[in-house]
Each structure stands twice: as C-alpha cells, then as structure tokens.
Symmetry: C2
Subunit: 366 residues, 2 copies
DNA sequence: CGGATCGATTTGATCGATCCAATCGGGGAC
DNA sequence: GTCCCCGATTGGATCGATCAAATCGATCCG
C-alpha cells in the first residue's frame, strides 16, 4: 500500500477516542445513522471530519463479505462493439459505480474458459460483488456459469436465443440499446426531408443488432407506405464493402438516401455518394445516416444514431445493486407505486432509446 | 461478496489442518518457499491443490498493507490519445498486471483536482499500490502530487517541459512510444519505393508528439538529401481538415507521397488523393501513410505506424513494480551486469520503437 | 416504589491472512 | 554422552472493521 509522508491514517478507534464513544457507535453513525442519537451523531461526524477518516475497505470486506467492487473483463478490441462506444461505456460505468460507492476492477481473459476461470479466482481472492458482461451471445457459457453459481451480473446486450435462459426461469438482467428505434428515427428523419426511395445498407442476416436495425428502417417505410421494393444491400462491416454496396443501390437514380447499419458502412456510402456527385453532377446529393455516432461520424459530418451509453451504464449499476444482498438500492420515488402499477425496483432489464444526431450528411443544404 | 452454491471457501487454516502443519508453514510455502523443507512443501502444496485454496486478498492486505491493485483513471474519450489505442492499452495493462499478480482498478474524475481527490480516497480506502497515468502535460499537478506523497506511478507519455521534475531530482518513471522513429520509418519506406518529393501533414507546432513525428520525417529526408523545400502543412486533427491540407500540397505535381501525423488526417489525405485520381487520371497514384494503425486504417488499407501498446503496458507494470517496496521484481538475467554495463532494473523509463504496417495505400500496385 | 421495557451504547469475538517471538528437533563439537 | 546451535515449525498477537450479545439508563406501569 502506498502511503503518503503524512501521519498514519485514522482508524475507527481513533475517531471513537476523539468523539468519546466506542468503535461500534462510530460504525453505526456511518452505516445505520438512524439508531444513533442525533447529538452523538453530530459529535462523531465532527470527529470523522477532523481526522479525515476513511474506512479501510479490506477490513470491512473481511468482516462483511462485500467488496464494493464490480468486475469487468476488458474486451479485445474489434470484438463487435465499436471501440469508442466501449471507452465511453467504461468511463460511464466507472463513474456510475463510483456514485454508488462501488469501483470497477478490470481483468483480461483470452477466451470463455479463461474468463470463467477468472471469475472463480476473482470471487475467491478479491470477493467481487458482481460482474458486467459486454459481448454475450446465444448459449454463452459465462452466462450459464454465473447463473448457476448465483453470482450477480448484468449484460450490456439483451439475450438472444433461448439457450441462455433455462426453461421456466426468469431471463437474466440486461440493458440494451433499442436499435430498432434508432434506425426508425433515422428513416423517419429522411422521410420528413422529402426522401421517398430510401435504401438500407446492412450486415448479413443473423446478427441480432443488425436485424433489429433493419427492422426499424423497414417499419418506418412501411408506415409511410413506401416499403414496396425498397432497395437493400447486405455486406460485411468495413468502409470499402460499404462503398461497393452503396454504389449498387445508387445505380438506381430514384434512390436519394441510405440508412446504414454502422458508421463504417456509412463512411463507405459517403465515398460512393462523393464519386457519384463527381460523375453525375446534376443528381441531387445523396443523404446518408450511420449508427453509433463514432468520432469519425463527428469528423466527417455524418448524421448518426448515438447510443446513450451513460444511461446504459447507470442502469447496469442499478441492476447489479439490486441483485447484491444488502446493497443500498436507490430510494424508490415516494412510498406509493410507480407508474404503470409496477414498482421500478422490480425491473430486471432496460431497453434504452438512442437519439439521432443530425449533421450535414443528411441536411438538404450541402 | 458473491458466493457460489458450493462449500465455503478453504482458508489457510483448512489447508494447514489438511496438511498437518501450522498456518504459518502454509503461508511460508506460498510466500517464502525456500525456508520450508521440500517434503513439507510438497505436502502443503498437495493440500492447497486438493482444497483449491486461494488466498483472501482482503486479509492479506489488512496485514501487509499491500493491495496488489493498481489504479487507472478512465480517461474521457477524445482526450488526445486515439480511442482505440486506449482500449488496447487498457487491455494490455490488465493482462500484464495479471501476469504479475496485480489487478487494475478503474476510476473516473472530471478534472485534475477531482483526480487527486480520488487518489487520496483510493489510497486511504482501497490501499492501491500505485497508479498509471495516461494524459500528462507540462506542469501536471497530478504528477507533482504523486511525487510529493511518494506514491508509485508511471506515465504513458514522456515528461515534456521542466516543471514536472524539481531541479536536481530524477525524472519520474515513464514509458513512451518513439514517434520520431515511427515517421522516420514511414518516410524511409516511401523513399525505398522511389518517392522523392514527400510531404508532411501534421498538427500545429507545440504538441510534443506532433513535433517528434515531424522531426522523424524531416530527418529521413535530410539523410536522403531531399529535405530542401519539402512541402509541409499543419492543421488540426480531423478528416476534413486533412483533405483540404493534403489537396494544397498535392497541387504540386511533383509531390507523390504524404506522411501524415495521424490516421484521421491520413484518411482525409486519401480522400484528396482519390479526388485527384478522378480529375487527373494520368497522374500516378499518391502514396499515403498514417499513424496509430487504428481500425479505420485497417479497413481502408492505410499504411500506418502501429504503437506497440502491449510492450508499453508491460514496461508500465515493470516500472511500477520496481517502485513498490517488496514487490517481486522480474528476476534479473544472471548475476552479472546487464548489457551496456547498466543493470536493467535500474532503468526508470522506456522509449518503445513502433512498427510500420504496410498496406495498399503505399504499395506501388494499386 | 420495584420491575419490566425499550432505546442507546459498549464489550468481546471474529473475518483470514502475516508478523514476531518462542519452541522444537537434530547434527556437530567437545 | 552432554551441550550448543541453527534451521524448521508453531502459537499468539495483530491489521481495522462489523456482528452479536451484554450492559447501561431512563421511562413507563402496576
């Protein structure tokens, strides 16, 4: 333990001596203030402030079997979630955890098996209170293991496929961003701007998020009565694939806008649109939207669907705390029943709505 | 502390009982095996394995005042270091720390003052053994604070400016990537391909890393006798600025290659080159190199200088351990003196050489 | 006016490891 | 054969908090 040059840190006993009470009373002031007489409480709090007392978490954990630390495997980059989203999620998670008196511990693992091995070790040695998972998939062994061992956890990403949830069991807690709502918003935005023939540039079928996003585009067009024969291309992630696929759709002069499943593909589409504006200068500019609102999108002025990772992180912590016995849950609003007749603290999942960031790539005046 | 459904975890006493020795002997086997007779050691190790014993870090820390945890502030995104580099660094740091029996704890802070406040709290409550810092700047108050309080730390990024180091004092431990060597390699690569007129697309003067990278480009040209009147443009980070600045340099038909200070600017330069190949089809393709080897570079086939963050992370941990009293240092190679007559463990900083990743953007056949 | 009651506070034990001083056991010296 | 010494091992105390139960004090009631 690194220690400053200053005096040894104050302990509970020091505070107790200074306030003229016993250790336990100090502990009560900090943990269950309501059982301490106000006058005593005041005195103790003053002593705490004067000595700058801060509790030793090791001692606390030894006794209570709670570490106030959450685990997160640092995912390999390029694992699916765009790198920057991950950064922002980590940052927000650290912040939200802190707000709730918790910390985030990182660990690394090369594969599923190694990750489960780390769970074991971290639970045994560091006594982590729970885990946040970022890249789950149908039949994920980690989910099964954590469930079986009754370890609190929350996934960023909804469960896809039934394997994750044993029959009859509650689904595990999760938080996710509503991709459907995102592309729907983007598409409606383009419709409002007067576009009629709006293509979709997506990933191959079978990726959950990709399918959701396509569904949002389709639903918006259908509601507008424009889904008939709407053009759509599927390709793998990447800028160059996006250029090729976009060019194919733009071969039809009626197509004036493209909704893309990711910023990378949108970047490729922008390149195709740029080529088009050089070869066919009389054609009106093509509008493009992306997904994730990455720094590249900001840099090139791409309209994009932004994932509210701060909200996701806040919900993640909330759902984790709800599973940890004895963890202070955020006070429910009022003593009554929440909206919809369902108590908020009973929720075990959240689908967060993203928001559309409009930039030049979709604005009429370019 | 989350606990599985299995039996209560084994403690030192359990192991001792099973092996028929005392607690202290078990502790010795694990911490100072050389003082235990081999036969006893065997017996204890067998018991450890049979019971799957894993030490409780809270108890250990309480007694030893070492937590085996390093702190890292999760930087805000867009703070200077490219997002993806940060991810990879974090991942590597977690991995390297783990290899050395340490863990990484994340925390968040909005500004320097808040960060120092967190240092205080983390040292007092969680007893962190040290910190890794990522975005230091001349006169950084965090560096001063950590120094004054004798807290072990290492910065990713060399100190720039004298304020950081009190006169007469050793510079603080740091690890950095040699940007000079990186652009020099990139430039030499272009020279080998036959390019003679090679421009530099950089950031405005005054950014340490930016200046280093420019110097590398300049040194390579100078060594080749081609530095006279070499074109160069400075602009802020971003794709669009890059396109504009690159177009200005490419207005001179003699310029056939551009070395860029970042992948974003290089991306912009690629767009300018693309425009050029459409408007002037007879002109030979322009070669472009970037810096950081981000996913975008991989996606668009951009030759780029890759930062070896794994090596940086390994050095970071190494330098941190060297400062932590009692931390097991990696065994020095042999009993003699290291290369250069200087013992490795005395090093307090490392300048790591990056490597050039060659892709289509600089290959002759496009 | 004594005893039951209840709230506020204190005391002693404990979590699981390591530190420190004491003890044990066996080989070598005399 | 006895004594000494040194390496191996043990037992007790301790780190700093919380738990559980005991104690204290004042109020309330019959």
């Amino acid at each position: 333990m690194a220690r400053g040059t200053g005096p040894i840190r104050a302990t509970l006993s020091d505070v107790a001596a200074r306030a003229g009470v016993s250790r336990q009373t100090v502990s009560n002031v900090l943990n269950t203030p309501e059982v301490v007489r106000p006058a005593t409480r005041e005195r103790v709090l003053r002593a705490v402030a004067e000595l700058d007392y801060q509790p030793n978490t090791a001692a606390r954990r030894l006794r209570t079997h709670r570490s106030h630390v959450l685990g997160l495997r640092m995912p390999e980059v390029g694992d699916g979630v765009s790198g920057e989203i991950l950064d922002r999620y980590l940052h927000a998670l650290a912040k939200e955890a802190q707000r709730a008196g918790m910390r985030i511990m990182l660990f690394a693992a090369d594969d599923e098996e190694a990750e489960i091995r780390e769970y074991r070790t971290l639970l045994a040695t560091a006594g982590l209170d729970g885990f946040a998972l970022t890249h789950t998939y149908p039949g994920d062994g980690r989910v099964r293991w954590l469930r079986e061992h009754r370890v609190p956890f929350v996934t960023f990403g909804r469960p896809r496929g039934e394997q994750d949830d044993p029959p009859g069991a509650e689904p595990h807690p999760w938080v996710d961003v509503d991709g459907y709502a995102g592309t729907r918003m983007a598409t409606e935005h383009l419709l409002e701007l007067g576009h009629r023939r709006i293509g979709f540039l997506g990933w191959p079928d079978g990726s959950g998020p990709g399918d959701d996003r396509r569904a949002g585009w389709y639903a918006a067009l259908r509601a507008a009565g424009l889904s008939e024969g709407a053009p759509e291309e599927r390709t793998e992630e990447g800028v160059s694939p996006g250029t090729g696929a976009a060019a194919r759709m733009l071969a039809d002069p009626a197509v004036t806008a493209l909704v893309c499943v990711s910023d990378s593909l949108a970047l490729g589409a922008l390149a195709a649109a740029r080529d088009l504006s050089l070869t066919a200068p009389d054609r009106p500019p093509v509008a493009v939207t992306g997904f994730d609102d990455t720094p590249v999108a900001r840099a090139v002025g791409l309209t994009s669907v932004a994932q509210p990772v701060e909200a996701v992180a806040a919900r993640t912590v909330e759902l984790l705390l709800a599973q940890i016995p004895g963890a202070a849950r955020p006070a429910s609003p009022g003593a009554g029943v929440g909206r919809g007749g369902r108590r908020d603290q009973e929720r075990s999942s959240f689908l967060v709505t993203p928001r559309l960031v409009v930039r030049e790539s979709s604005r009429p005046a370019r």
